[in-house]
């Protein structure tokens, strides 16, 4: 293998490593949305705070469209089950309902829009 090939291989491996790191970092602070009649009505996002940044503990349920339909996130907790969040209390105004799961077993979230259905669960 020539030096150029080695160099290219090294760059390729570095890129793969970087992308892999980015993908795992992107598992936190990511959202899943539900679209109804072509409009994203709401999103459920996971995030972490404090010392445990390696796993998410928060699920935010966020209304994204002013249509009179309430939205709430659902969380799937390993070994526990699915827990509904609070309805986003201020509608489509900025800000979300926030739920804090301290067990460290938050595995997925989805968003449900009143009378319009839910997204699939997004796993971390």
């Amino acid at each position: 293998m020539s030096r150029v090939h080695v160099l290219l291989l090294g760059v390729a491996l570095a890129l793969v490593g970087a992308l892999g790191w980015s993908s795992s970092a992107a598992a936190d602070n990511s959202c899943v949305g539900h679209t109804y009649f072509g409009i994203e009505r709401g999103v459920a996002c996971n995030r972490s705070t404090g010392a445990s940044a390696h796993f998410s503990q928060w699920v935010d349920g966020c209304d994204r469209y002013s249509d009179g339909l309430r939205v709430r996130a659902w969380a799937r907790i390993d070994g526990v089950g699915d827990i509904p969040g609070d309805w986003d209390t201020n509608g489509s105004n900025p800000g979300c309902a926030n739920d804090f799961y301290s067990s460290g077993n938050l595995r997925a979230q989805k968003i449900c829009v009143e009378a319009a259905g839910c997204s699939a669960f997004r796993f971390h």
């Binding site: 602070n29 827990i83 509904p84 209390t89 900025p94 301290s102």
Partner: protein, 246 residues
């Protein structure tokens, strides 16, 4: 009856919850708070109708209403600390959830919401084993009605459960009531929140056992009830989901 007293220099206020459902009123000690009060102007104190067991410092994890938790402070639960300051609005303790703390802060940038929004959250300081949620809250200004609410459903290993509901009410609200079957099943007085972060007043109440439906309304000082009500069924849905967990 639960009473939380503020020192006279900070303003006078008492808070109590009347659990009209028939459950026993539990005695609570009078607690002073604000001993470590920040010098910043604060509109007032805070809320809650809860049984206070132990000291204010214990319930608040070492912080009292009016205190500012500095960014990064590793107060319990440690994974809940923020990179922004929080102002303690209220602390208390309930029989199943244990000690809790209600705070106001500004949101941090995240995928779901921008930075700088006014937020409140209620965190359990020592969540009972087996309960999936350790706290909840919301960010953003209330809608035009000025009323917002969130809940923390709790269960312990024995299966006993409890539902704490809290939120924001308009400035003119002097109390918040849960009405069901034509009567008030629970109520809590409101208190002004930290004006620089949260507008309106805050309130906290524990749902009486056996109550599983109702609507929230706020009442002004003349006894006039709000025209708009908030359906409480979503909060009870959460309690049932938590009760059904392993």
């Amino acid at each position: 009856m639960t009473e939380i007293r503020r020192s006279a220099s900070k303003g006078v206020g008492e808070t109590e919850t009347d659990q009209a459902s028939g459950s026993e009123r539990l005695p609570a000690p009078t607690r002073r708070f604000g001993a470590r009060h920040s010098r910043r102007t604060v509109a007032a104190a805070v809320v809650a109708g809860f049984v206070a067991v132990g000291t204010a410092a214990t319930a608040g994890g070492g912080f009292s209403p009016g205190d500012v938790i500095p960014a990064g402070e590793p107060s319990p639960p440690p994974e809940s600390r923020l990179s922004v300051d929080e102002k303690v609005l209220a602390t208390g303790t309930t029989p199943i959830a244990g000690p809790w703390r209600l705070t106001a802060y500004e949101s941090e940038e995240s995928a779901g919401q921008p930075a700088g929004l006014p937020c409140i959250r209620l965190l359990l300081q020592a969540p009972p084993a087996g309960t999936p949620l350790a706290g909840s809250g919301f960010c953003g200004k209330p809608d035009e009605g000025g009323f917002s609410a969130a809940s923390v459903p709790v269960r312990d290993k024995s299966g006993a459960s409890e539902l704490i509901v809290f939120g924001i009410a308009p400035d003119q609200a002097s109390s918040v009531h849960l009405r069901s079957d034509g009567g008030s099943r629970a109520s809590a007085r409101t208190r002004e929140a930290a004006a620089d972060k949260v507008t309106g007043k805050v309130w906290v109440m524990t749902m009486p056992s056996g109550v599983r439906d109702g609507e929230f309304e706020w009442v002004d000082s003349s006894g006039q009830a709000s025209a708009t009500k908030q359906d409480a069924s979503g909060f009870f849905d959460r309690l049932e989901a938590v009760e059904g967990t392993k």
